[in-house]
Amino acid sequence: MIRLFALMSLVFSVLQAPSVDAREQGTSLVRQARSKAMGGIGVGMADDDFAMFNNPAGLAGNELSGWRPLYFQLEGTLDDYLYFAELTDVTSGFTLDKLNALMGKDIGGRTGGMTMFMLPHFHLAYLADTQVSFGQYNPVNPIYQIGAMITHGVQLGAAWSYKRGRRAPDEFRWGFAGKFLFRKGGFYEIGTTSILQSASDPQTYFAGVIGEFGTALGGDLGAQYVRKIDYDTTFYLGSSLQDIAGTRFPDIRTQSIPMALNAGFGFKRNLNGSSFSIGMDYRNILLSTALSNKLHFGGEFGLGKVFFLRAGLNQLRASYGAEFNFWLLKIGAASFGEELDSAYGISSTRRFVFDMSLGIAI
């Protein structure tokens, strides 16, 4: 199995992904509060229902059946709050000069929903995601970064595991996920000349920029090594290749999802009913961006299975959050820093994500 990891690493190392804008990094379909509070980890320590979106091999750790009829997620930025008055002013009576008050700010939000069926080693989800964003730089000749994207579709994942023996401490897992997505829109940079030209009929202009709904098929692969060090202590090592060769939509105006190679490890220990875990991911390995943008560290402390406190470093920016579980209901929230540029320390933002889900065990 070690050879399998070596082979995967070799294959991954010769694959090349294009350099993408930093804003495109944030377009993964599900941004779970748990993962973001823990600094964005989840590849090495893919151990929950959302493993399908981080590392499908982690599904092999799920032996239960259930249905999560509703998962809801809402995300916003700190600038949404700080510049709410300016934002309201712009939307109440739009003129271009009002936009200057939002120069260099990260205005945006996203909301998503999902329903997911879970069987041992197999998950099937229908998900929907809407993102909007507005950014602007260069007051001399403003460039507007406008994001408007709607995605929905089906994703399924399956995983297998191998143990040398029933009591063997080592477990090797591998999995795949397939997705069939409908998407419209993306993130665009629009110059002032285009804005001027669009002034006579902005609706038609923006409809032309965003394009129409298109479909795409995508696939992810994952591998995970799990070692039980003792009854309460587990070590995880994992790697995933998401959106192999890129999930591309037929309309070039529609935002494609770039391929991402990720790796990570985690460590989990149960402590008299409570739990403690830490992990680290090295994400977007093939992406042409600063090393700091690829690093994710984080940990979680759980009081029973009811309350969880989380903290970490997402791209070397502080992240933290909490989750409360009450019977069928899970409510989580996180705050995390994120880089907007390909180099560290030039332009960062703070975002907040809230999620809520209902889960029914079968």
């Binding site: 271009l96 000069d97 200057n100 730089y137 007051p139 001399v140 000749n141 403003p142 002032t192 001027l196």
Partner: protein, 301 residues
């Protein structure tokens, strides 16, 4: 580096943006994106902000006041939007540099002739033809030319602080072609060059703009047309206000070809001082334009 320059611009750290973009502009890695950032860095130093500028231009007064000759408030508006009183400041130089850089933003596939180009460095050559340049460059060039024109009007016309009427003739500084030729600041030529570059932009942008800005640009176009025609009259006929000389070949000073060439070449801000070309008609053209400005800007008789 590009991200840093963008960030510097958004936080108005103009000097740092100029310094960082300069090294990229003078390298083989230069692209139109870098040229735009470099031009914007100079615009930042000069205090140019496109959106407030568009609003100010759109709300300006361009009334033509009847009289002999009629005067226009266009100059008052320009002087009001772009105040400047210092003899030397970074604003003028920054705007001039900005124009050079914007002229080097060439559309892919454009072939530049020697006559219509301005070699800035081994990696950047400017085109004096509107059609060779990108739309974004042309739009910003129009506004930067407007800023340069208004700044020089303020500096050399000494406008009244409340009415913005002219208090000093431009011709007091540059009384004839010789004064223009000997102008060590080269601002006379730059002044006239900004009129032509502005005219190019206004002619196109006014067709796609609507509302107050579109109306303002059309009014501006008429005023600029008068100034440019005066330059041509002076070049062709030796005087302003008596036709272009076509009907009087004996009085045709420099001839149609040389004057048309002068008008084309004057998009380059140092055309009056290019001794290896044909600078004399250019200087005469510039002088004619200044006569027209003094004649149509309300104020000193």
């Amino acid at each position: 580096m590009i991200a840093t320059i963008r960030s510097n611009l958004s936080s108005f750290n103009c000097a740092s943006a100029v310094e960082k973009s300069e090294s990229l502009f003078n390298s083989r890695y230069v692209t139109n994106e870098i040229r735009m950032l470099h031009a914007s860095s100079y615009g930042c130093l000069a205090g140019v902000q496109l959106i407030p500028l568009m609003t100010a231009v759109g709300s300006g007064d361009y009334t033509v006041v009847a009289g002999v000759p009629p005067t226009t408030k266009f100059f008052n508006t320009m002087a009001q939007i772009f105040p400047s009183s210092a003899i030397v400041d970074a604003k003028t130089q920054s705007l001039q540099k900005m124009q050079d850089v914007l002229q080097s933003m060439i559309v892919p596939g454009a072939v530049l002739s020697d006559f219509d180009s301005n070699i800035i460095n081994p990696y950047n050559t400017g085109s004096l033809l509107y059609r060779d340049r990108t739309d974004d460059a042309n739009t910003l060039l129009m506004f930067s030319s407007m800023a340069l024109f208004g700044t020089l009007l303020s500096r050399y016309g000494d406008p009244d602080p409340s009415s913005y009427d002219q208090r000093k003739k431009i011709l007091d500084t540059w009384s004839n072609e010789t004064a223009i030729a000997n102008d060590v600041t080269k601002n006379a030529c730059s002044f006239a060059s900004s009129v032509l570059n502005m005219y190019d932009g206004v002619s196109v942008v006014s067709t796609v703009s609507s509302g107050a800005l579109g109306t303002a640009l059309l009014a501006m176009q008429a005023a600029l047309d008068t100034i440019i025609s005066a330059g041509m009259q002076k070049c062709r006929n030796g005087q302003v206000g008596i036709g272009d000389g076509d009907d009087d070949p004996t009085n045709d000073r420099y001839g149609e070809t040389r004057c048309n060439n002068a008008k084309s070449r004057l998009r380059y801000r140092n055309a009056c001082h290019e001794t290896d070309r044909d600078p004399q008609p250019v200087r005469t053209f510039v002088h004619g334009m200044m006569i027209a400005i003094d004649g149509t800007w309300a104020g000193v008789p």
